[in-house]
Structures are given as C-alpha cells and as structure tokens.
Symmetry: C2
DNA sequence: CGCCAGGTTGATTTCGCTCAAGCAATGTGG
DNA sequence: CCACATTGCTTGAGCGAAATCAACCTGGCG
C-alpha cells in the first residue's frame, strides 16, 4: 500500500483495460468505476496457485503479467497442462458462469500478476453490460476451437510433430530474436508439463529432445531453447502454426 | 408439404421447443413466432452433410432427430470425429457468432432430422432475447469442459481404456437394456471413426476389439455391441463415466 | 459376375512405456 | 563448510504396444 504499489496497480490495469486482448477494454464509465473498486491486484510467485481444481468459484481472474498455466489433475496424480493464459486473458470465468466448482487449477508459471474480480462485482458488470457476456462467449468459443485443434493434433500427429508444434506456438509468445537470426525461447514449463501437453511421458520428451538436438533443428539447455531456423522447424509439419 | 408432413414438422419442434436440452425452449411468444417462420426442417440420409468445413456460415442448425457427427478434416485426408450431437443440440453456432467459415463439418450418422435457422432470424432472436446468448455461452462452456476431458483422457489413458470409456459414453445414448440384463449398442459410427475418436488407427481398434471379445467384456458383430456387464466394463477405468 | 468399401488378420519394424540407475543443481541440517 | 536429501532431468535395457504394409475376407451393388 505504498505509493509505488498504488502506482503499479494503476499500470497493471492499463493492460487490463485497454489491452487489445482484454475482455474489459470497452466498458462504460460507471462500469469501469465499479470494476476499479471490485478488483484486487495480486502478485504470484512461481508455482503459486491462483485457484484450485475442486474449490468453489469466488469470481473471475484476469491475467495482467506473466504466464498462468491451466491444469487438470486426477486422483491418481496425473497432471495435464491444458492451456496457457497471458496478460489480457480472463480465467476462472467458466465455473463462475456455470455456478460450479473449478474444473481446473490455475498456476503461475513464473512471477505473475493477476487481478481478482469478486462475484458480486462481476455479476453487476454482466447485468449492466450485455457486451461483456458476448465477449465471454467469444472467448469461450476461441478456447473451444483451440481445444478441438488440440484433439485433432493428438489424434493425427506423431509425438515429435506434436512437440515441434508446441515449440512453434511457444516461439510466438516467448521467443526472442537472436542477433544471428535464431530464435531463443525461455520455456515457461518443466519437461513433465511439456510431456503432458504432448500427451506422453517425460522420458520420451527427453529422447525426442535428444533427436531434435542431433538433427540440429533445436538446441536445449535447461529451459533455454535455441532454434536456428524456425522455418526449418515449421517445415516438419507443413500446416502453419 | 402434405398435412402429415406439416404435422411431423410440428412434432419435430416439440423436441426443439420444449425439450429439456434444447436452447430454444423458453422463448417468449413473439420470439417463438419469429423462430417458427425462420426455421426450415430437413431430413438427412446417412452420410449427408449438414454443413461443410471451410464453407461460410449460413445460420445455425438444431438437431431434432437422429445423430449428427462433428468432424474435422485436414488436407492430407485425416478425419477426426470430435463430438456427437443429439436432438436438442444446437450446432454451427460458433462460426455464426464469430462470423467465420465453419471450422468443422457436420454429418448425419444415420437418418436424421435437422432444423435450419437462417442468419437474420437468429440475429433478431439474439438481439431481442439476451437469455439466448447466455444459453449459447453455457453450451459453449459445456462443450469446452467436454473437450478438456477429452484432451486429459488422450494424454493419460491407454488406447484400450479410451475405447472402453467411449463405449460407456455410447451406452448412455445408444444403449438398450437386453432381456438378460446385458446392454446392447447400435454403434452410430464406423470403425475408422471409432479409431479417430480414440486417437489411433483402425487396425488397432480391430485388435483391441478382439481383446475385449476374448476377455468377454464386450461382443462385437458389425455395428452391434453387446456388453454383458456394464459394471465390469466400467471397473476397467475406475473413474465414473 | 466383378467391383468396391469396410473390416479383419498377419508379419515386421518402430516406437514408447516401464523400471532403474545415474547426474546436476539446490537446499538443509549438523 | 560439508555430508546429505531432494528435485528435475537424462540415459539405458527390456518389453509390450502400436504403426505400417499387405493380404484377405465379406456384404452390398451395379
């Protein structure tokens, strides 16, 4: 609650309010004021849970900084990372709208900033702002198309191709262009999570990584990946990202 | 357009209007009238396409009878059956709402009845009936949860378990109780589609079916499946359907 | 009758899972 | 500061499962 903290809170909501990807960027004046009063900003350390599968919903969250993983668990200890959420993404809205407990956990995959909007505030916003519901609908549809793509790939691609596709997706969000034209990625996830996203075991991911190394299409060092030529990698799967 | 046809049209829309699962069952009087005028009922033969992936959207469809498969194809000829739609389900609403071409094809998996509601009618209904948008949102969220379940299973279950799970799901919709307490299913899909839903090749499905036969947990004869004990089958995967 | 699509079966090779050991980085308590 | 446990990752060996390619049924259907 120092002035600097207050200031950073304001900055966080620039992303929340005017970001092109945000669900909240075109609220009218009273709605914005309502949102500002019902919103609580919080920083999360790596591995901290934003919400937990099975717990009752207590409003929605909006990612403002960092990366948040949406994860599903079962009683046998299996864990699958279903999707990644980035600044501007709203999460936890599904269980809010259906009035059920959370079907997934949300976990900060690194230092992250996430705003929380409590149930009464979001309910009031939804009631007075029909466009917001439509925006959630569009978001839900987008996620559904994404999930269908995923199912299709799981059924048709080899493990290697699935990993290559995942790397190409991660380049878009986490890649940074090197001086020599190569792309570097700081992976936001562990090998185990990488494996769950590909639908295989972590040992297999290790071996596939080894093969990508020997083929010279990607170099791994911990969570650092260097891709000499993204085009060459993309050529392995001739459907564009 | 004979009187009987007219009568059947009315009957079809009992399912569309008052069915518990239908998206249209609580429209007000003028909206119902609008729907009745903008709706066109059509029967489809087995294999006929209701809409085709890549084509522009021309409104939404509502399944009134039979079973409709939602399928995704790629340029290499791969085909994956993503979901099944039953009477009361609305399909094609995603591309309508996003204003894009169809991302999937919808195919009658047997003699089916599907109503079509054109773009202007559905737009008018959505404008005057905010609850309808909310209903689409709920439907989309439900499909998303379903897709996430699917992704999770694809990543954690063996092919045999995935097939068993699929059979257990199909029992709910297509099963009928035999005199001796066994359940019989008329599979609505071919072996190839079964394989695509499990995420494997059709030869592998044949072999898994063979193993289920020898294990005595299911008997296959063409598209007829008999399951002596659903409980025994469900015991293989100890998470309830 | 021959053709064809859908399905089954077989042989072979590749792939991935499992179990197990080893290794590096990190943290912890003595 | 060092022994030690822990965690995440890699590697290996053996085995079972699945992909692939191919042959062969079998039931429509012209």
């Amino acid at each position: 609650m120092t002035p600097t903290c207050f200031k950073r809170e304001g900055q966080a909501c620039i992303a929340c309010h005017v970001g092109r990807r945000s669900d909240w960027h075109d609220l009218d004046q009273p709605a914005s004021a309502l949102l500002a009063s019902g919103r609580r900003r919080r920083e999360y350390g790596s591995g901290e849970l934003v919400f937990t599968q099975g717990e009752p919903n207590d409003g929605v969250h909006c990612v403002s900084g960092g990366t948040v993983g949406i994860r599903r668990l079962d009683e046998k200890g299996n864990s699958v990372l279903l999707e990644l959420a980035y600044p501007g993404d709203t999460i936890g809205y599904r269980s809010f709208l259906t009035g059920s407990e959370h079907k997934t956990s949300a976990e900060a995959l690194g230092p992250s900033v996430v705003c929380h909007i409590d149930r009464v505030t979001i309910a009031a916003l939804l009631g007075g702002n029909p466009a917001l519901g439509l925006r959630f609908l569009k978001r839900s549809i987008g996620e559904l198309e994404h999930a269908h793509d995923m199912i299709f790939r799981q059924a048709t691609l080899s493990n290697r191709h699935k990993l290559v596709h995942l790397l190409l997706v991660l380049v878009v969000r986490h890649g940074r262009l090197n001086s020599n034209g190569a792309q570097s990625i700081d992976l936001p996830v562990s090998r185990r999570d990488l494996a769950s996203m590909v639908g295989t075991r972590h040992e297999t991911i290790s071996r596939i990584i080894g093969r990508l190394e020997t083929d010279g299409v990607a170099h791994f060092s911990g969570r650092q990946v260097t891709i000499p030529s993204v085009d060459a990698l993309a050529a392995e799967i001739d459907c564009l990202i």
